[in-house]
């Protein structure tokens, strides 16, 4: 009995220590973002602000030097279109790969997997040159179209779709339902958890993507929030820590909200995405 209690105490102490290690930087971020601007970095004992400066967030969003609110709108628009588009394109493909047989299916699926694992290193330069020659630079098209399909989402959804019993599709087929109808009315409604997971992953990927929007945009009005944050840091806030941290939180909070809303599906999603 005593050993059991000791074990639980030890486990919790370790967990809390580790939790502090993981959380401390975030806590610092929030506390500093609420300090008065243009103060020197607060020492640890003065971290809790005397007066809470919520207005820092509005100051960052609507600062005259940089259209941060526009960055925010850009990111929201791009994220919505990419998440929905990617969900549709990827779920169609996942349906084809998991529930239909056709010639060349496995070879094609392998091509998707290899592109996911190894493609990124060599494609950035040619994709940029292609997008440039299409005349897409500094447009929403450039920021959206490359994200409309994702091998990772296909892979993830395929794992889920493969677990749905075939009898359901067979029954619908006997009733004369088209294959698209089976996909849309049988398989998709049964895969809500999978679709939530895939949407969350594609949201994080597009919201926090840095490299591609950095290359594909140079016009300040077309920047996304993630790239805008680096511009902000390098030109306007490099020593103003409260403003910097307020800006960083503006970028992070939407991710945290989406994460908390979908995280109960997450363990399963990561697992299926990772193995087999």
């Amino acid at each position: 009995m005593i050993r059991k209690v000791l074990k639980i105490v030890a486990t919790y102490s370790l967990l809390i220590g580790l939790g502090l290690f993981m959380l401390a930087p975030f806590a610092w971020m929030v506390l500093v973002s609420l300090q008065e601007t243009k103060t020197a970095i607060p020492t640890l004992d003065k971290l809790v602000p005397e007066t809470v400066h919520w207005e820092n967030f509005a100051t960052v969003l609507f600062m005259p030097e940089l259209p941060v609110f526009r960055f925010f709108l850009n990111s929201v628009f791009i994220a919505i279109v990419v998440v929905l588009g990617q969900l549709f394109v990827s779920s169609l493909a996942a349906y084809g790969f998991s529930r239909l047989k056709f010639k060349g299916r496995d070879a094609l699926f392998t091509a998707f997997l290899l592109s996911m694992m190894f493609g990124g290193t060599v494609t950035q330069i040619p994709v940029f040159l292609m997008v440039r020659s299409f005349g897409w630079l500094d447009s929403y098209v450039a920021l959206i179209v490359p994200g409309l399909s994702s091998a990772f989402s296909i892979f993830l959804l395929r794992q889920f779709f493969a677990q749905i019993p075939n009898e359901l599709s067979e029954a619908a087929r006997i009733d004369g339902a088209s294959e698209f109808r089976i996909y849309w009315s049988v398989v998709m409604p049964l895969s809500k958890a999978a679709l939530a997971t895939a949407s969350a992953f594609s949201f994080f990927a597009v919201w926090t993507d840095f490299f591609w929007p950095l290359l594909a945009t140079s016009f300040v009005q077309m920047r996304t929030l993630e790239v805008g944050l680096s511009v902000f840091k390098n030109s306007y806030g490099s020593t103003n820590w409260p403003m910097q941290m307020a800006a960083a939180l503006i970028v992070m909070i939407p991710c945290v909200v989406v994460f908390l809303a979908t995280q109960r599906y997450f363990v399963k999603g990561v697992t299926l995405g990772g193995l087999k």
Binding site: T11, L18, G19, M22, L23, A24, V32, I41, T43, L44, L92, A93, G96, L100, K101, F102, R105, L108, A111, F112, S115, M117, G119, T121, V122, T123, Q124, I125, P126, V127, L129, M130, S149, A151, E179, Y183, F204, W207, T208, F210, L215, E226, V227, S230, K233, W241, Q244, M245, A248, L249, V251, M252, V256, F259, F266, V267, V270, T271, G274, L275
Partner: protein, 290 residues
């Protein structure tokens, strides 16, 4: 009939794969055989010159070495920490879900925001680490991101923190499927916990470990955002990793031909490392099965 329908379903994704992965790979290969400065119109065919020049360039090898150091230190350390944490949270006690969520948080956060945060952590004098060190009576003046041995270690340390969540979840998934009767049998035989970790847990986790190892290594070789935000490759090129090196070659010097050649050499390096890792783990798996 169903054969054709299948193609219809995968057609949009396949068109996308062609346009944004397969055609670009071919284009990159073409680029790597040409000398093209983006600011000029001429792009003469130069054969293997971009490759031979890259292989003779000590800056490129420095970048490769930096990436290798980053991966060789950060990946195993990150995996050991993640496995330890997975074992810790793989217990049925109250509030575990909260901790799992907490540990995952850095992984979904913006890379730029995280980098800004860690710039603070590593600052001299007022940074988090130096502030804590001062409490114990040290001077606390180390400028971690601007001093040679420290900058790379600072980035490695940060990567352990950001990578913890996904690795932990993958290990957790591997732990959950291990047959509990194996442990019960070991316990009946009087095997110690420590021994059954080495004899049961680790061998049974081999597929998971392999997957985590390969994917972590690939992403370690591609790290970009923290370098761009925190060190710009410095001090003295000690954190000029190959992903950042290629970025500068292509987008600062506009040498897209040689940058493409470098990206293929990086791809080759990643493939070789992944294959070696796969072989090693596979033979371990066969040993365990035998």
């Amino acid at each position: 009939m169903r054969g054709k329908v299948g193609w219809f379903f995968v057609a949009p994704a396949t068109a996308h794969l062609l346009l944004f992965a397969l055609v670009p790979i071919g284009y990159a290969l073409w680029l790597s055989f040409h000398d093209w400065n983006l600011l000029k119109d001429s792009r003469p065919f130069v054969g293997l010159q971009n490759y031979s020049e890259t292989l003779a360039d000590s800056n490129f090898w420095n970048a490769m070495w930096n990436s290798a150091r980053y991966a060789i230190t950060g990946v195993p350390l990150g995996m050991i920490v993640a496995l330890a944490v997975a074992l810790l949270v793989n217990q049925k006690i109250r509030g575990m879900a909260v901790f799992r969520t907490l540990f995952y948080l850095p992984a979904i956060s913006s890379g730029v925001a995280i980098s800004m945060l860690w710039i603070y952590v590593f600052l001299p004098e007022s940074g988090l680490i130096n502030s804590i060190v001062k409490v114990f009576g040290f001077e606390g003046k180390t400028d971690f991101l601007n001093e040679v041995p420290f900058a790379m270690w600072a980035l490695v340390f940060m990567s352990i923190w950001t990578g913890l969540g996904p690795r932990m979840v993958l290990f957790l998934a591997g732990l959950v499927v291990i047959d509990p009767s194996l442990y019960e049998a070991a316990e009946l035989d009087g095997t110690s916990r420590w021994r059954s970790f080495w004899r049961i847990t680790l061998p049974m986790l081999t597929p998971t470990t392999l997957f985590v190892l390969v994917t972590s290594t690939i992403s370690a070789f591609q790290v970009f955002t923290p370098i761009y935000m925190m060190t710009k490759g410095g001090p003295m090129d000690s954190t000029d990793v190959v992903g950042y090196h290629i970025y500068n070659e292509a987008w600062r010097r506009f040498h897209v031909g040689s940058a493409s050649a470098q990206s293929f050499l990086l791809l080759l390096a990643i493939l070789v490392v992944a294959i070696i890792q796969y072989r090693l783990m596979k033979s371990r798996m066969e040993d365990a099965a035998a």
